[in-house]
Structure formats: structure tokens, C-alpha cells
Subunit: 192 residues, 2 copies
Amino acid sequence: MLDVFKKYITDKVVLSETEWSQIEAVCSLKKLRKHQFLLQEGDIWRTHAFICQGCLRRYGIDDNGIEHTIQFSIENWWAGDRESLMSGTPSKYNIDAIEDSTVVLIKNNEFETLCKLIPAFNDLINNILFKSLNASQERIHASISLSAEEKYLHFIKNSPDIAARIPRHMMASYLGITPETLSRIRKQVTNK
Amino acid sequence: MLDVFKKYITDKVVLSETEWSQIEAVCSLKKLRKHQFLLQEGDIWRTHAFICQGCLRRYGIDDNGIEHTIQFSIENWWAGDRESLMSGTPSKYNIDAIEDSTVVLIKNNEFETLCKLIPAFNDLINNILFKSLNASQERIHASISLSAEEKYLHFIKNSPDIAARIPRHMMASYLGITPETLSRIRKQVTNK
DNA sequence: CGATTCTTTGAAAACAGTCAATCTGTGTGG
DNA sequence: CCACACAGATTGACTGTTTTCAAAGAATCG
């Protein structure tokens, strides 16, 4: 499974074998079964997680017990809670597996060492940060400017790979609408 | 005005005088009058902008001519369009001044040189990235989980400094509601 | 001032949420 | 392998929220 991670990196930057060994040395693989938590509200997140296979979901639970999905992550993406990581405070979110999944874990201090040691790795990570930020902005834009139906269409158009493999009630919680509303929207859309 | 920028940096990291000179050498000051554009839709954004004084706003305009505000930035924050900067494509957004403002501009290639040359500067910028990302996530969470009234309360609680100096119709466009709805919400809230 | 833009208000319509019931599919234990 | 239980999805009727459109008041700027 580690080769998924290696391929991901070497597809993006040039890495010597020595450098890859340095990375490999601090990686640990973890298998998650469907419904298993990677992070639970109240825990402190201290690692970085790369997804080799599967699908994870980060969500918060409000005072009424309603789940609100912040993010879905599939193969070749990262998962985690940067806020908890940076501040060292307990996480407000949960991350669990929607499918049986395999992730690479790297402890934060070792991760930071890698960034300092291997410029290419650092560049790669920075690039991901940029991309995440752009994606967030895009989502904010969508969420303040689109109607429920438009949000749904926007999502299935821009993330068809994710949309196809998640349950609808989670999609609803990601779009910020109720499962009932999503159901009606889908009915409407197919009738066009 | 540049001293605002210097203070901002030296409050966060330790910098030698030589390093500051290197930074100073690539800074240019720009004054913006209220309503003046820093970036217009279709332009390519190639710089970094730090706000010494004033208030800027980044927004997109949809097919119906409605403005949607992505971000407000005041003194001691940055403004720009990373998406356009990174991809080199025309921006989808406008940035203009809500008040008479003064910004420091640094060309992107010189900015990148600074990051490579001055580790402290690089750390600083990375830290801002992290913070921006966290703030974005927080906003996404708010926008999918809160009602219009809650979003309003959340905003004035978390950004009282910004909330106090922007016109209401812009606040509405930031919260993703109509000016009329915001007006009614405010009336309700004060009657409690 | 006068003109423009911003804010507020009202009434009606569109939209999305709630609650309850039914339908569907999946997986588990007997 | 079937039957049952259970979670998820859909539907209907109703309620509540937000938008739309139109108009009237404030506030601001030249």
C-alpha cells in the first residue's frame, strides 16, 4: 500500500532513493474498517494522514445531534484536523471511514523534519496547502451564492468521483441541506 | 506606512536588519481610494498585497449581477487571489477598497525569492497559510450548519472589528443572505 | 441641496425544513 | 437461505424561513 504513497509523491516531484527512504522510515500504515474512527471529537490530532485507499469523512455534530460534513477525502488525498494539530487543542470534529480504508500516518514532528530535510517534500506539501485553500474558497463561494439545487449540481459536476460513492444523507450534510430536501431535488433534476 | 508592515513581521518573527532591508527593497506602497479596484475580474493577479491601513473586499458577481463577498481584509492582513496567482489564469473576482487604504505590494517572483532567502519570512507566510485555511474551514462549517440569524450572530461575535466598519448590504453578501433578510434579522435581534 | 446609494418595511411567493409514514435495500442471525 | 431488523431513502402534508418585488425612509456624497 505504501507504493500508492510513493507514486503520489514521485508523480509530483523528483525524489532520490535516499529521500524516499527517509520518508518511508517514518510512515506507518493503518487499516480502517467502515465506520471506524480515525479521530474522535475531543481527541488531539498530532499526525498527518494520507489515504492510500478508501474514503474518509470529517464532520462536526451540533447541539441538536445533527452531523455537518466538512470534507470527504479519498485515495491520494490527505485527512486530518489542522486546527487541532496547530493549536494542540482537542478537536471539534470526527473523522471516520465511509469505506474500508488504508491510510499512511506520519507523526507531526517527523513530518516537520521531512519538510526541513527534503525541499521537494516541502514544496509538495506547500502546494497541497495552496490547493486546499483554493478549494475551500471555491466551496465558500458556492455555499453563499447557490441555491440548494445549484449546490447539488455543482457538487456532482465538480466531484463526481466522490458523489458516486457516498450515501445521500452524508451528501446532504455536506451541502448544508436536509436529506429530504436532497431527495426532492434529485427527483426534480431527473425529471428534466 | 511601511513601518506597519515591519512591525507586523517583527512582532511575529526575529529578523536581522539585513533581512528587513531585503524585504523593504522589493516593497512598493500603493494608495487606494474608496471604491478603487486593486484587482478586477479578468485581470491576472501576480503580486502579494499586505494591508497597512484600510479595508478591502474580494467578491464575485454572478449571472444575475449579484455580488457575493468571499472575504474582507483589514490592516495587518493580506489580500489577493491565490487561485489566479498560482494558475496564471484571469481572476473570477474583484477586489476593491471599502475605505481609503494603503497596501504594500510585492511581486510574486520577488516574494518567492524572499521566502527562499529568509527562513523566518517563509515561516511567517506558512503560518498565515495555515491560519487562512483554518479560518476557511470555520466559515464553511458556519455556512452549512447555521441559520441566517445564527450566521449573523456568529459573524459579529467573531469579527466585530470588521462587522463594525462595513455596509450592511456587503455583510449580507458575505453571509449569503439578502439585504432585506439581514435587516429583518437585525431588527429581531435588537428586540430581544 | 439634489442625486444616488443604502436601509428598512410590507405583502406575497418560493424555498427549505420538520415530522411522520412508507418504501427500499442490506446484512445478520437463526 | 430465509426472515427479520435496521439504516437509509423517499414521499406527503404542514410549518417556518428566506426571497422577491415594490415602495418608502435614511444617509451619504458631490
